[in-house]
């Protein structure tokens, strides 16, 4: 059985490991670190925090699966109504970098119906090969058939890396595929790199709502699979002169029928711009005092060409639908600009938006926690500041 140990000769009792433990399982006793087995989950977070190599995480020898013969970088290209989603172009942009470092081909996989144009678009954005499976039953995403087909293609062609968007589709599909092909999967990565010496994918992701970052590897299984957060990687630019192979994979008619079926697709986002796609988001919180005042938020969002978000307090009060909620129990966003109006900045809200490039906060309380993360804070009445800001922006941008 694997275990963890403090090497007492090396431990200096500095306590650096204490704060690294997400489970509060380490304490200091007689100037030495002590791990409480009842709390420790062997997550390994403490190992790299120790400057003295005093923490030893012992992993039993495991049978290594044969990882030779796996080559190439794959991206799963999500489509809706035959149109490739922008996340797929972001994956191709990142996948190209990884493939070039490894000196291998970059391929895309697309499942759908009427996807000829989509295949051409994927080639233009950098795919050397496109594996395309087209069938009327694949038009809408359905968990099981998609997983069976993708896992089958992976088993057949053995890519060393498979990337997928961390979207609602990607995060439902890819975990099933990873279990089927028996490999590791890292969720919601925000940075990818290659350890060139070992040819290993270094997958970095936020945990605890972005309060810590973890770099994860999958050393003994292939492919190395990761979902990648939307709007973090740069899209591959289109080049219509690019050449690539489109490999039409026949749909296996013997495939068992899907046990789920989509009866209806409903669109309900009320604003013009989707929250997770938006470069600019203007959010309102408890300080907006009522649903009617969200008009001010909408006007400001419009002047910036942005989307409307909200804090949990505003959603729970019924002022705006849940689909607009930013934060721990809502959506995690990372726009270029985030404007928080009448939001105090509880930790649950901050973890959902603190990776924005620039944050503006408007609040009447100068001690509100939101100001600690804001690049620009305005202390004042939202009902005065927000309209003034809207007006100034309209004058400046002419919108």
């Amino acid at each position: 059985m694997s275990d963890i140990e403090i090497i007492q000769d090396k431990c200096v009792g500095c306590g650096a490991c204490l704060s690294s433990c997400p489970y509060g399982a380490i304490s200091l006793k007689d100037n030495l670190a002590v791990i409480d087995d009842d709390k420790c989950t062997l997550c390994g977070a403490c190992v790299s925090s120790c400057g003295f190599d005093a923490i030893l995480l012992r992993k039993d020898k495991v049978e290594k699966s044969d990882i030779s013969g796996y080559h190439g970088v794959w991206v799963f290209a999500e489509q809706k109504a035959g149109v490739v989603q922008s996340i797929a172009y972001e994956l191709l942009g990142e996948g190209r970098k990884l493939a070039d470092i490894l000196g291998v081909e970059l391929s895309a996989v697309i499942l759908g119906n009427s996807i000829e144009q989509a295949c051409r678009d994927l080639v233009a954005r950098g795919a050397d090969n496109v594996y395309a499976v087209s069938h009327p039953s694949l038009e809408n995403f359905c968990d099981e058939p998609y997983a069976v087909i993708l896992a089958g293609l992976i088993d057949q062609h053995k890519p060393e890396i498979v990337l997928c968007g961390a979207s609602t589709i990607g995060r439902a599909l890819i975990p099933r595929v990873a279990i089927k092909v028996h490999t590791g999967l890292t969720a919601d990565c925000t940075a990818l790199a290659i350890d060139e010496e070992k040819r290993i994918l270094l997958q970095t992701r936020p945990a605890f709502g972005g309060n810590i970052m973890a770099t994860i590897i999958c050393p003994n299984h292939r492919p190395q699979m990761a979902t990648v957060r939307h709007k973090v990687m740069k899209e591959a630019a289109p080049d219509s002169s690019r050449q690539g192979k489109v490999i039409n994979v026949p749909y296996d008619r013997k495939m068992p029928a899907s046990r789920t079926s989509v009866l209806k697709v409903v669109e309900e986002i009320t604003s013009m711009v989707k929250l997770t796609e938006a470069d600019i988001i203007v959010s309102g919180g408890r300080g907006m005092k009522g649903p009617e005042n969200f008009k001010l938020i909408e006007a400001l969002a419009k002047s910036l060409g942005g989307a409307v978000g909200a804090s949990r307090a505003a959603v729970d009060s019924g002022w705006i639908p849940y689909s607009h909620q930013v934060g721990q129990t809502g959506k995690t966003v990372a726009p270029k600009l985030y404007v928080a109006c009448g939001i105090s900045g509880a930790i649950q809200h901050l973890v959902g938006m603190q990776s924005a490039d620039c944050i503006i906060a408007v609040n009447k309380d100068p001690d509100a926690p939101i100001f600690k993360v804001a690049n620009f804070g305005i202390v004042g009445d939202v009902f005065e500041v927000v309209p003034a800001l809207t007006k100034k922006l309209q004058e400046t941008c002419g919108k």
Binding site: E144, A178, M213, A346, C358, F371
Partner: protein, 261 residues
């Protein structure tokens, strides 16, 4: 219809504080709670039981202190609680966790629906629900925001998407992972609290569920964490007080300088 709810005990982030000197999280003494999304899963299971009858069993994996979380679910009204607890389970990534939970579920047996929260707030992976569905070879619907119809054989549910929702029909048994919008979790009743106090949680070790040692814990985990670090903390910028128009002009100027507008 019998229902199984998979829950996770997580550190309560509302209590997470930042050490001003080192800019790292202070986690000592942070209380543990049931993962907030799992509360909606428990509530939905109880509501279906009230409609269709049957039994609700809560299942978790972790060290003995997780019994507290399971007892909280009992106090809300769950019938039974099972904890997979064995040092051999420790260090599991989502692959090994999905495997262990699916083995526990097979041992519990006889279920129509398995509920999970859409993700846990500590790891944020959202991978274990679909992983369990795959190991059990049953269908799944993720991000469920409403159960429109349910009987012993099938269900019609609403799956939240980026643009709205899909109405999905599925055969049962199935795994549903739920979002916050699905319900408002109840508070524990006095009767429930009394029951939880004396309730004896069933504890199963790896051998009890017939788990293959190669597939559990750190050994069974294809992924390893190689580095954990704290991202540079955001530091506050300019704080503008006083005249509104001057403040607004300063902000717009700043946005122009940073080429955001």
């Amino acid at each position: 219809m019998n229902i199984i709810v998979c829950i996770k005990q997580v550190p309560d982030t509302t209590d997470v504080r930042i050490d001003p000197a080192t800019n790292t999280l202070i986690r000592e003494g942070v209380p543990s709670i049931i993962n907030p999304f799992d509360m909606y899963a428990i509530e939905e299971a109880l509501r279906i039981r009230e409609k269709l009858g049957g039994k609700v069993t809560v299942l978790s994996m972790g060290p003995p202190q997780v019994i507290e979380a399971l007892k909280e679910a009992i106090s809300m009204g769950a019938d039974d609680a099972v904890l997979l607890s064995d040092r051999a389970f420790a260090g599991a990534d989502t692959w090994a966790t999905s495997y262990a939970l699916s083995m526990g579920i097979k041992k519990i047996g006889d279920y129509g629906v398995i509920f999970c929260g859409k993700q846990a707030i500590d790891g944020d992976t959202a991978q274990v629900g679909p992983g369990v569905a795959e190991f059990l070879d049953i269908p799944q619907v993720t991000y469920v925001k409403k159960i429109e119809e349910i009987d012993d054989k099938k269900a019609i549910v609403w799956r939240m998407t980026e643009d709205g929702y899909d109405v999905v029909e599925t055969s049962l048994p199935a795994v549903f992972t739920v979002v916050k919008e699905i319900n408002e979790p109840r508070l524990p009743s006095l009767k429930g609290k009394m029951r939880a106090k004396s309730y004896q949680t069933t504890i199963w070790k790896a051998a009890d569920i017939g788990a293959d040692e190669k597939n559990i814990g750190l050994n069974g985990s294809p992924t390893n964490v190689v580095k954990i670090f704290t991202p540079p903390a955001r530091t506050g910028g300019v704080l503008l007080q006083g005249d509104v128009n001057e403040a607004v002009a300063a902000v717009v100027n700043g946005l122009k300088q940073q080429q955001i507008i």
